[in-house]
Amino acid sequence: MTTANPTVTADPTRTLDLPRPTRPAGALTTALGVARRTVLRNIRNPQVFVLGMVQGAMFLLIFRYVFGGAITTNGIRYVDFLVPGFVGTGVLFAGMTSSIGAAEDLKEGFFDRLRSLPVPRIAIVSGRVVADTILATIGLTVTTVVGFAMGFRTSAPLGSLLLAVALCVFAAFAFTWMFVLLGIMAGNPQAAQGIGILVFPLTFVSSAFVPVESMPGWMQAFASNQPLTMIVNATRAFTLGDVDAVRVLGHPASYFAVRSLFWCALFIVVFAPLAARRYQRG
């Protein structure tokens, strides 16, 4: 009852008829390939993607109509205060999604596959970040449209509005480096959910939904100086115009924009090398 042993050895008459690439993919090809896949992964899961949008719109409605009446905003309408704040916080919530996405890539072996390929290491994480920035931009576009539908109005010139959008997109790009790093460190999507612990205080203890003057003094010290407040206030100041901005927020748009850019630069300088390092060999 000896079992046959159907071992296969090479048959010289057949070869796998595939050419071997002459040189490996460059950084741009790699980053774009990874980015395209990551964007498709999100927009081809419409349940999740659309649900995220609907959830965002719902929160906007709740703040506008449930809390809004109880919040006074130095003489401007609450909806005009809220919508730029909401667009700004979208950067952080998109960041949470990218943490979870990065953790999924790690767990599902996608990063291992990429790292076993002859592609530049930095391009792998860059592709992920580019994709997350694109997704965040889609998100903030939707929020803006919903905001206008809910009565948000601005008399700011187009140039200022474009600056506001550009700042939010750049902030999304800068913050994503940190969130991708945190996602990889978390190791799995469930743990990456826990990054909400970081996102929620940053979101709520900021000027995004209420004027910071209404908070207790010790909290104001944090709330008025943290990065999200700078980004939110810059966005808000761009839409209000400098006269209203100084009256409501205390400073013109340039004040907040410069500080936002400083924070963004800091995030990139600190977290991009750390994230890239995570893609080297262990």
């Binding site: 079992t3 042993n5 159907p6 071992t7 050895t9 796998l16 490996p24 899961n45 076993s116 262990g282």
Partner: protein, 337 residues
């Protein structure tokens, strides 16, 4: 030509776990080499090293003659990796997945498409090529993952537990796919905790335990090295099992191994066929009905037991280095259930 893989004295420590403890292995070209061992033996650590995802603490490693420690980029051009989890994108079609990986291997778009076509055809996936991968069965996903590791025409294919968690039919299907690759001239290094998988696919098997190769050879060599022949009896009536064990035990050179659910008794013997005849006479004399009786070589399961003194698949998994660890643990638990 240098061997496709040569590892000397590889060690790797993760915190408190010695994952590799001086692993030596040479894999020749033109064949499948299987790394066989229980969970936690160091299989995944080793294959991740070959795939340039991990650096060893000590030792040397060459892949296709290239130093994997000093020139990882060159090694990456020579290998294709298919991991434990099928790392294909569910929200893209099978074809899109292969074209993406083909582009990353360095093909231009036209060549990436052509290579994807060849691979789809080879793996019999052409019909499903334009469906999103999330509609694929587990077996199809694994096949596509295997395909993704092929589009760059690697010299050495690395398969980390390619069929773990698959149903028997998908397993056979994937085995066929791997066989046709080997027949087409791709060298394969695979890890497995399934003894029959190594037996089915590999020309050479290295059994590893606690981070070291403890035995190495062809399946037949390993079986004869560690195994006495076995007289295997399936008793027709479960109530007579104990009577049969008592009768057969004196024949064996070791204690008989009994598997009650299948009513089978395996008696390791030293003088093969003579003792098979003796067993037949004994059972006949007792008027004991058997549904099957025969003499066979030791299985790799028995080889593992003989080499290590413990069964092959009951180890915890201290290999906390990789991403798929918890997943693997869950899967092996399911397999054990």
């Amino acid at each position: 030509m240098p061997p496709i893989l040569e590892a000397r004295g590889l060690t790797k420590r993760f915190k408190t776990t010695q994952a590799l403890a001086g692993l030596d292995l040479t894999a020749d070209r033109g064949q499948v080499t299987a790394i066989l061992g229980p969970n936690g033996a160091g299989k995944t650590t080793f294959i991740r090293m070959v795939a340039t995802l991990l650096l060893p603490d000590e030792g040397t490693l060459t892949v296709a003659g290239i130093d994997a420690i000093k020139e990882p980029d060159k090694v990456r051009r020579a290998i294709g990796l298919a991991g434990q989890s099928a790392a294909v994108e569910g929200a893209m079609s099978g074809r899109e997945n292969l074209v993406l990986v083909g582009r990353l291997f360095g093909h231009d778009t036209r060549q990436a498409k052509a290579s994807a076509e060849v691979v789809l055809d080879l793996l019999d996936l052409t019909e499903s090529a334009d469906r999103l991968v999330r509609t694929y069965s587990g077996g199809m996903r694994r096949k596509l993952d295997l395909g993704a590791s092929l589009v760059g025409a690697p010299e050495l294919l690395l398969l980390d537990e390619p069929t773990t968690g698959l149903d028997p039919r998908s397993r056979n299907d994937l085995w066929d796919a791997i066989r046709s690759l080997v027949a087409a001239g791709t060298d394969v290094l695979l890890t497995t905790q399934y003894l029959d998988e190594a037996d089915q696919l590999a020309a050479r098997i290295a059994i590893i335990d606690q981070g070291k190769v403890i035995a190495e050879g062809t399946p037949d060599e390993l079986k004869s090295k560690a195994g006495n022949d076995v007289v295997e009896v399936h008793v027709a009536d479960a109530s007579e099992l104990d009577r049969a064990i008592a009768a057969l035990a004196p024949l064996g050179c070791e204690r008989p191994r009994v598997d009650r659910p299948t009513r089978s008794i395996a008696v390791p013997v030293e003088r093969g066929s003579a003792q098979l005849l003796e067993a037949v006479r004994l059972l006949d004399g007792l008027n004991l009905a058997v549904s099957d009786i025969g003499l066979r070589r030791a299985t790799l399961d028995e080889v593992f037991l003989a080499l290590t003194g413990r069964p092959a698949e009951s180890e915890p998994d201290p290999e906390a280095d990789g991403s798929a660890t918890t997943d693997k643990r869950r899967r092996s638990r399911r397999a054990a259930a």
